[in-house]
């Protein structure tokens, strides 16, 4: 191979479905999985004479997302028609934004494996309508389902600032977390709510000379795995191709690929970039959108601390592990619940354990959020305190947490009802300890003699006390009494 080094260059184009109740330009409900062509009207069917009306909520969601991506929001933006013929596009043009996107010049911060973060620049964010779906059942025909036609679609285009498949994946994951946090998208990958199109090439340095490989675009990826693997595959493919052919980037030699998930390979779709002429022009059926300060401030007020910032703050401020902080910031409702419980006085680490070990599992099973599961976050704070002060054991705490989810009762009451309060009265416990010591002279002997057996015997004695108290004794206090009596 000689002296060869290479750098990976990846830019991303991402499409995100917004979670509005109705479509972008008509009143049809957005409903995944409904009977084909049941969520349609003259507007989204592109019937003659029908006219689009902008969904204000969709626009506000798009602006909110653009703000979270640190974009400059356009004071004046308009709609354009992008013309191309395709059976799933009823009007044979798509209403989109061409030269005046609603957001420009932002960035997204992504976590790196090193624990550092990296800023990936965002070129533009704009809003458009999605197309329908072509279905290809067996036989000499195709079918078209237009339920999806007109779904508000946010398009985000990054600069080619990513240098590995892992970074591409990190951006995708981070973006999903952001749009979910903001509540602007359900961002369910399986439902096609997010689609990715990476543009990949390599800068290869061989014997002091730099070569750029032709850019390859992979279309329509809808899972993090496919995204990461296809980028990795493409890196290797381009490297191999360069070594075999020496082909470098030229005007018009960008290629388009699909991802074959079964064989885990990219498949060439178009050899040469077609000189696609979309004949954009301003959409005459819609009026431009003028963003004034009041409206913008209203949207800004819905911004919140972004998940990555929260995660890093949890680590530095609450001393949580990065992993735990990540789990707590996966969903906005979880993070907010956590913060409420901490604010009510719960120890962050203890609250975190209760939530990650019990709460989230239960919420997941019930298909709801933590707040829906346990309306009063202060109950969790109280429970955390009970564990910390030794009123209940950590394992009893988990049991109480489960009961709280069922009954909504206060932890103190549950602990009493289930007899889970620990005996911490040293006097009462001393009597029990004495009885155990009396009944187990052999073990007492072993402890006193020291050496290997000592530790085991001490554990045995402690276990005996626990048994006599049906596990309700505070092990810390028993240990102290034992130490006092046995040295």
């Amino acid at each position: 191979m000689g002296n060869l080094q290479y750098k990976v260059i990846v830019g991303l184009e991402i499409h995100v479905h917004l979670r509005t109740k109705s479509k972008m330009f008509c009143g049809c409900a957005l409903e995944y999985g409904a009977t084909a062509n049941s969520r349609v009207c003259p507007v989204c069917l592109g019937m003659p004479g029908s006219l689009p009306v902008m969904n204000k909520q969709a626009f506000e969601y798009a602006v909110l997302a653009a703000l979270a991506l640190n974009c400059k929001i356009a004071e004046f933006t308009k709609w354009d028609r992008k013309g191309y013929y395709y059976p799933d596009l009823p009007k044979n043009y798509q209403i989109s934004q061409y030269d005046l996107p609603l957001g420009t010049g932002g960035f997204i911060e992504i976590p790196l494996q090193s624990g550092q973060t990296k800023k990936i620049r965002i070129i533009r964010v704009h809003l458009e309508e999605d197309a329908g779906k072509n279905l290809h059942p067996a036989g000499n025909f195709s079918q078209i389902d237009l339920n999806r036609a007109g779904t508000p679609l946010l398009e985000i285009v990054t600069e080619p600032d990513m240098n590995s498949a892992a970074e591409v994946r990190a951006l995708a994951v981070e973006l999903q977390r952001i749009v979910r946090f903001l509540g602007v998208s359900v961002a369910d990958m399986q439902k096609g709510h997010m689609r990715f199109e990476p543009n990949i090439n390599l800068i290869i340095t061989r014997d002091g000379t730099e070569y750029k490989t032709p850019i390859a675009e992979i279309k329509n990826l809808n899972s993090f795995r496919a995204l990461e693997r296809s980028v990795d595959y493409e890196i290797q493919r381009q490297l191999d191709e360069f070594l075999q052919t020496g082909k470098v980037m030229e005007m018009g030699n960008k290629t388009t690929h699909g991802w074959d998930d079964e064989n885990q390979t990219t498949v060439l779709q178009r050899e040469k970039e077609e000189a696609h002429d979309y004949r954009y022009f301003p959409e005459p059926d819609l009026v431009p959108v003028v963003m004034n300060e009041r409206w913008l401030n209203e949207i800004k007020s819905k911004l919140c601390e972004l998940p990555l910032q929260k995660q890093m703050r949890y680590v530095s401020e609450y001393k949580l592990s990065d992993y735990d902080a990540g789990v707590l910031t996966a969903e906005r409702s979880t993070a907010e619940f956590f913060e409420r419980a901490v604010k009510k006085g719960g120890d962050p680490k203890r609250v975190c354990n209760l939530l990650t070990q019990v709460g989230l599992k239960l919420a997941n099973e019930a298909g709801c959020t933590l707040a829906e599961l346990i309306p009063a976050a202060e109950n969790v704070a109280e429970l955390a305190e009970m564990i910390d002060t030794g009123k209940v054991s950590a394992s009893a705490g988990n049991t109480i947490m489960r009961k709280m989810a069922e009954s909504g009762e206060k932890p103190q009451i549950i602990a009493e009802q289930l007899n889970l309060l620990q005996k911490s009265d040293a006097g009462e416990l001393e009597v029990i300890v004495d009885k155990v010591l009396e009944g187990n002279p052999k073990a007492v002997e072993d402890v006193k003699s020291g050496g290997k057996k000592s530790k085991k015997a001490r554990g045995f004695l402690l276990g005996q006390v626990m048994q006599k108290t049906s596990g309700r004794a505070n092990p810390k206090i028993i240990s102290e009494i034992l130490a006092e009596k046995l040295g």
């Binding site: 003259p42 003659p48 004479g49 029908s50 006219l51 689009p52 044979n92 043009y93 005459p284």
Partner: protein, 491 residues
């Protein structure tokens, strides 16, 4: 023997029906008798709804007998151009590609007509997709001018104009993208109003040039025109380009109709009128005389950018049309070819078979002007011209109440005379196009006849949303003349 009822104006007919003196059924039957008798000659309609119309007429009559309140057009038989969607019958735009298209909904104007208790008698012939100035590009039939059946009725709302002039309805709706209401109104000797862009909802109007299209009435008198405006004008949330009540409230266009405008100042544009036939110029001079007698002041103004109006219009209108008509591809509705071997051929063959020559010409023109590399030179430049024309109008309207021009350089021409000469055909819109580019309202009223006994039209243009004043200015002339009382004898 003609039924006298048919000569009655909409207002009078409506009042007499509402008062129980005339039955809507009688008026409706009279219309269909006339249709039976003359439609074969005139060819105004693409479809008629006799049964449905009679049923609606009966319903209105029963309402009146029962003492219930009825709408502004109670029982009045009305025709609509076949580019407005109706949930009944077909909506064809006079194109083979939509021959069997049945819209699943009513256009907003149709809903408004029905809510006003109008009786919709049929849908009128037009140039295919409203592209033409003679109704000769219709994919289905020929419409002739009731004043001379060897001549065109004008276009593209030729069917509506012929139906109103020929007494095959009492009033009609047309659409106007570059003169398509006013020019046929002028050729057929009736009143035609293109309202301000945004005054009447376009929802359900099959688009030709979306930024230019506007629905308006064709009637026999200015008063009927005002009545129709009272029914169809107003904000519609389904049309983002319709103007809301706060910006420009609609008014009762009949309320002050008979009050003349005091200190009326009319501008004429000499540069503009020079190209018209001598007979047309004479009619204009006579009209100037009439207004002077009425105390109006006539001033001459210059509109330097009007020379570029036709060029800019044909760039913008065809560009929008090429996009608007992209949906007629045989995939979701409308004509689909029987001979496609793949989906690309479904598109190309369906469109090749379904569209007529003029429509294809304009789609190609529009596609070309929007193509990358040409956009700046054509479309963008046309938008700049459009802005200059708008500001020309703003300047002129600071000096006057309205502008007066001919509607068309000529009176109705012979069938077949210009159909193969698109450029000459396009130039027949030279006086009407500017109003669409600027979005301002304009009206055409009868103002005389040429030596061949063909009607001549007079056009007024006024500032945006001043339809009330425009109608009053027109009414001043109408009161002073009796051109509107003449009616064609159909041979």
């Amino acid at each position: 023997m003609r039924n006298e009822l048919l000569d009655m104006g909409c207002r009078q007919l409506r009042d007499e029906i509402a008062a129980g003196q005339v039955k809507s059924v009688a008026a409706t039957e009279a219309v269909f008798e006339a249709v039976e008798k003359y439609e074969e000659t005139i060819g105004a309609y693409i479809s008629t709804f006799r049964k449905q119309a009679i049923a609606k007429a009966n319903e209105v009559d029963e309402k009146i007998t029962a003492g219930k309140k009825v709408g502004l057009l109670a029982g009045v038989p009305i025709a609509v151009k076949d580019n407005m969607c109706t949930a009944f019958g077909a909506t064809t735009c006079a194109s083979k590609i939509l021959e069997n298209f049945h819209a699943p909904y009513n256009a907003t104007v149709i809903e408004k007509l029905l809510a006003a208790d109008a009786v919709i008698v049929g849908k009128t012939n037009m140039d295919e997709f409203a592209m033409g100035s003679s109704t000769e590009t219709s994919g289905f039939r020929r419409t002739v001018n009731p004043w001379d059946t060897s001549r065109v009725p004008g276009g593209s709302s030729g069917g509506s104009a012929a139906a109103v002039a020929g007494r095959l309805c009492f009033a009609a709706l047309g659409s106007d993208t570059g003169g398509s209401i006013r020019q046929p109104a002028s050729f057929c000797g009736v009143v035609g109003l293109k309202p301000t862009y945004g005054r009447v909802s376009r929802y359900g109007l099959v688009a030709f040039g979306s930024s230019l299209d506007q629905i308006g009435p064709l009637t026999r008198t200015v008063g009927d025109c005002a009545l129709m405006m009272n029914v169809i004008a107003g904000y519609d949330q389904a049309d983002s380009t319709s103007v809301d009540e706060e910006t420009a409230p609609v008014c009762d266009y009949l309320e002050k109709l008979d009050e003349p405008i005091e200190n009326l100042k009319i501008a004429i544009v000499p540069q503009f009128n020079a190209g018209a036939d001598e007979q047309v110029q004479k009619a204009l001079r006579d009209a100037v005389g009439t207004y002077k007698e009425l105390g109006a002041e006539i001033i001459e103004v210059d509109m330097p950018h009007l020379d570029y109006a036709v060029a800019a219009y044909y760039v913008i209108a065809t560009a929008e049309a090429s996009s608007n008509l992209a949906r007629y591809d045989g995939v979701h509705y409308g004509h689909r070819t029987d001979n496609a071997s793949d989906y690309i051929e479904v598109y190309s063959k369906s469109r090749a078979e379904g569209f007529g020559k003029e429509v294809k010409r304009r789609i190609m023109l529009g596609t070309y002007t929007l193509s990358s590399g040409y956009y700046d030179a054509y479309y963008l430049k046309a938008l700049k011209v459009r802005n200059l024309i708008r500001s020309d109008f703003t300047d002129v309207f600071e000096k006057c109440d309205c502008i007066m021009t001919p509607v068309s350089p000529t009176t109705a021409f012979k069938l077949g005379e210009k159909v193969d000469d698109p450029l000459t055909m396009y130039l027949s819109d030279v006086y009407t196009i500017a109003a669409n580019l600027a979005g301002v309202p304009a009206i055409s009223i009868p103002c005389g006849f040429d030596e061949k006994e063909l009607p001549i039209g007079l056009q007024f243009l006024a500032p945006a949303f001043s339809e009330d004043r425009l109608l009053r200015i027109a009414r001043m002339f109408e009161k002073q003349t009796d051109w509107h009382k003449k009616k064609p004898v159909i041979s």
